[in-house]
Symmetry: C2
Subunit: 187 residues, 2 copies
Amino acid sequence: MEKIKVSNDVSWQMPVVIMGTMVDGAPNFSTVAWITRLGSEPATIGLCIDAAHYSTSGIIKNKAFSINFPSVNLAEKADFCGIYSGKNTNKSNLFNIFYGANPNAPLIEECPLVLSCSVIETKDFDGDFFIRAEIKEAYANENVVKGNKVEFVKMEPIIYMDKKYYKTGELIGQAWHIGKKIKEDAE
Amino acid sequence: MEKIKVSNDVSWQMPVVIMGTMVDGAPNFSTVAWITRLGSEPATIGLCIDAAHYSTSGIIKNKAFSINFPSVNLAEKADFCGIYSGKNTNKSNLFNIFYGANPNAPLIEECPLVLSCSVIETKDFDGDFFIRAEIKEAYANENVVKGNKVEFVKMEPIIYMDKKYYKTGELIGQAWHIGKKIKEDAE
């Protein structure tokens, strides 16, 4: 098929997570989709937020934050946390909050998986505020855990794509496995 | 619900993309899921790969690579590119290839959306190789484009989660919109 040039500003299938911070002594929550794993040992993550975000000062001051994974049933609250800034909207009562070892990483009880993160370094990427952090603790609802690992499919996580929210869909196949068929067929 | 401590090594709902590089004069393809948008203007991305990957030398030498979005029908080939290293497996004939302005960013014709990227900087993150890059050109199949933007839902993109591949699912609602209800209800 013929290809045409399109806008570089692409917004592919991304996770929806709620970042929790302590700003001026109160919990604040902000929804983000620009997040990735970076390293395995220790488990690290990277994310970029607008330097002007209300959350930024809390992250700089406390070197800590949380990442909370909402299920489909929390989509409205997650969207709320993405629309309204903590500058004008008090979001500290939106969720039931608990804490792990770090009192500067407020964790959301309603989310089936929550991560307490510790900042390794921050960088100014041409005006965007990049955070590299270590996942220090992870807590999950018992009913989504097998062994010591989370089964995300049971959490009903939210996908952000085309400025809409989607559920995850049908299983295609096992990773690190279905591609072996191509090798076998070629031999 | 009671929460229990789980492994920090969480692997949430992630995009599946195929990175294209030129290594020793031949195209090579490697599948990655640890990728995020970083900035808007210019449109930038960040991703982390194992420094020992075959692709790494091509990225360092050429300061260029491609990001290709496979549809569900390419899941086996995408998995193949994630399992087998270019060190031992020639992947240059796996796809039909074309080029944009940069001859060091091989683009996959079979993928409905492809990005030609230029490296801004690379960093050693405790042994992992982090790449910050600008999206220089984006090309898409006409049938997934509206205006000058891609509609990802029409591309049938692949989600990586729990070491499995999934389709995207049902629409939940409009982002930057469904959360307004909470504000309205509170007023």
